[in-house]
Amino acid sequence: MTAASDIGELFDRHFDDVFAYIAFRLAGDLHAASDIAQEVFMAAWRDCGRLRTPDAARAWLLGIARHKVADHFRTRPPEVGPGRAAEADAGSSQADAGAHHRARLVAAALRKLADHQADLLEDKYIRGLSVRAIAQQRDTSEKAVESALSRAREAFRRTYESLTKAEEAAR
């Protein structure tokens, strides 16, 4: 087995999650999500020295993906126009289109949060890191993380609800 085929195994295990996360952050821009997801795996291939334990592969890849998405936003605005949405929704069932729409609202709400709050929610609920791991990463106590998470959830709830209401009002 060659090292190149190992990346194939990593790809098979985690591509769906990485792609889904990126597409979610890009509000359903599937084309860009595919490109960036490939960049993530190539970066992982080049940078595999940082992966210390196999159990952390998913969180590690999603961490790389987060930075790649940030790079993407540095040069291009988040595309939320109907074109990209239509592309993502093409051929979808009504239920899927509804889920896509909800995901875009969640992504928009996350973008409106302060960086540290969005990061925290992503680390906990999307990357699946434990409170202890988050506390270690941030050089802080678990109690402080719990407290910050509580505030971040509240901020997210408020923002998400206001977006939902604004949208309902616009209909």
């Binding site: 792609f19 040069t75 050089d139």
Partner: protein, 580 residues
């Protein structure tokens, strides 16, 4: 109550998890992506030196953690490395760029002397990177010096104009993976793989190979970004000429050239780079993060207030007591919050924004003189008669920065130039030029170090709440006004000297006024700049007037964000056009 809270939390968790798993790749997309990734990995694996390089950095070893059969990969990589090594040794010319890259990655020390005066040393073996940067257009101060010790996780930064060494924590800094990345590192920054042409060239009697690398610029044209001269005998670069990035100052036109040498040893400390041993060291390493409970709710209020600020407006900043530059900023649209870094900032796409600088000269130059004091309307009327000396513009697609034309008396020798790029220009980011950066500095940064809410004090601006952030010998105080949109009324930066805390600089906002749209703004800014008392340089104070006017989208001056028009005019006027 608790049950309700838990339900709410569970709902949010479910919302986030579901949202992040909503979009699934189509099978054909996944298959194509897999094929592409594997092919690219195999190509890289097959490149001369790639496997050896991965092993030498301990990378292949780490794959063992993934699962046991992957150990085979290490052995395979090592075998491939040996094969590649033999191939490289026995391979006759011509030299390839990959072989140059390979050779660079095998040396112990690299020294680069640039034609703009910078000098750099790098040794991945010793985990050291050092750089000397002369201060532009100043013989008055020492050069700046950086010394990064990756092994110790420390960075020493000597700031020439302050005559102080800042000691910072670099334990989370990632050492470059390869010497090539550290010293050349040219391709990653261009977001595209350059096309390479190879030419023979004789320089000072030496037969060299020159690799010219091209990318596609903002106009879709071929653009030379680097030239690498390498010696086929050593396979090492002799000279590298590279295009200067948008945000870097230009000393010798659009390119800077580095002469490469490979000494046996290099600097072991910042003092080996000419810094005197008696210079004061300020330890700014972060203490363990310790943020008092009351701080973050306040920071969130500050961020929320900043988030409520208008996003279509014009700002004018000028001085009423001194002839000085005048800034006019137009912003149309909302800046996008960038992802997390230690110093998060906002990207300006998809907004359109333009910053114009004017010089208000003394009455000896009546054509360029604005009588003071002046109202905002008078300033605006005067700028309409003037040509900006610099323009920074983002039109939603590209980024433009224009220097000049300068008034005839101006000593600057450079002809007017317009620079166009697809990438960001930090000068137009929402920082000090923007009301957001001035009024809510805490909304634009991470809170690290020791943070606390200060006890009420008679020295604090009335009605404000003080937040103090400390990192070793550095202290920052932010006094925010909760009754006026949490505007930071006073921001003070302190340094710890032997005799106590020294106020290095301070910004005080005043003249609070409410916009018709409801938000509060400051109309006056006092900047205090202290100087090192040891050097007996007087502190300075500057008072700026600030006018902020909300504008409807159709109230902006026609064509103000039209980059194409700016480009066309620059061409008509014969300005130098540069792209990236």
């Amino acid at each position: 109550m608790n049950a309700n809270n838990n339900n709410d939390d569970d709902r949010i968790e479910a919302l986030l998890k579901d949202a992040a798993g909503t979009f699934t790749p189509a099978p054909e997309v996944k298959a194509a992506a897999r094929e592409h990734v594997l092919a690219a990995a195999q190509r890289e694996e097959g490149k001369p030196g790639a496997a050896q390089q991965r092993d030498s950095m301990g990378v292949a070893a780490s794959w063992r953690f993934l699962r046991s059969p992957w150990r085979v990969a290490g052995a395979a990589s090592a075998a491939l490395a040996a094969l590649v090594f033999l191939t490289v040794i026995l391979w006759p010319s011509p030299l390839t760029l990959a072989q140059v890259r390979e050779a660079v990655n095998t040396v112990d020390w690299i020294h680069i002397k640039y034609d703009n005066g910078n000098e750099r040393w790098i040794s991945l073996t010793h985990g050291i990177r050092a750089e000397i940067t002369p201060l532009a257009e100043s013989d008055r101060y020492d050069d700046n010096v950086d010394f990064i010790d990756y092994s110790a996780g420390l960075i020493y930064r000597y700031v020439g104009c302050g005559e102080v060494i800042y000691l910072r924590d670099a334990s989370k800094w990632t050492m470059p993976t390869t010497a090539w990345e550290a010293t050349v590192g040219l391709f990653e920054g261009y977001r595209q793989i350059p096309k390479t042409e190879r030419h023979g060239e004789i320089i000072e009697g030496r037969k060299l190979l020159r690799f010219d690398n091209y990318v596609t610029d903002a106009f879709g044209e071929r653009l030379l970004i680097t030239q690498i001269w390498a010696d086929p005998a050593t396979r090492l670069p002799v000279k590298i000429r590279r295009r200067v990035p948008t945000h870097e100052p230009r000393t010798n036109g659009n390119f800077k050239t580095g002469i490469y040498t490979f000494p046996e040893s290099g600097p072991e400390s910042i003092y080996d780079l000419g810094v005197r041993r008696n210079v004061r060291v300020l330890d700014t390493r972060r203490p363990e993060t310790d943020v008092a409970e009351q701080v973050m709710p306040l920071v969130e209020e500050i961020a929320a207030a900043e988030g409520r600020f208008i996003d279509h407006y014009r700002t004018i900043e000028w001085k009423n007591d001194q002839n000085d530059p005048i800034e006019v900023l137009h912003v149309c649209g909302q800046a996008v919050l960038k992802d997390s870094t230690d110093h998060p900032h906002r990207d300006y796409a998809p907004i359109r924004a333009r910053l114009d600088h004017y010089f208000n000269l003394s009455s000896e130059h009546p054509d360029y003189h604005l009588p003071l004091p002046a109202t905002a309307d008078e300033v605006l009327a005067w700028t309409a008669t003037q040509t900006p000396v610099s323009i920074y513009l983002v039109d939603g697609q590209r980024y433009y920065s224009q220097d000049g034309p300068f008034p005839p008396y101006f000593t600057k020798a450079d002809p007017p130039r317009l620079h166009v790029s697809r990438h960001g220009d930090p000068r137009l980011l929402p920082g000090d030029h923007w009301p957001n950066g001035t009024q809510w500095p805490l909304a634009m940064r991470k809170i690290t170090g020791r943070a606390q809410v200060l006890a009420p004090s008679s020295e604090a601006p009335p009605g404000t709440i003080g937040i103090r952030i400390e990192r070793g010998d550095i202290r920052e105080d932010f006094h925010v006004d909760p009754t006026h949109d949490f505007i930071c009324i006073r921001k003070t930066y302190w340094e710890k000297h032997a005799e106590g805390w020294y106020r290095r600089w301070e910004t005080t906002l005043s003249g609070l006024a409410q916009l018709p749209t409801g938000q509060w703004i400051a109309t006056k800014k006092l900047d205090y700049r202290g100087r090192d008392p040891d050097r007996n340089i007087r502190p300075s104070e500057h008072t700026y007037q600030i006018d902020i006017t909300p504008l409807a989208p159709d109230e902006f001056p026609p064509g103000i964000f039209d980059g194409e028009k700016l480009l066309e005019e620059a061409r008509e006027n014969g300005y130098r056009i540069e792209t990236y």
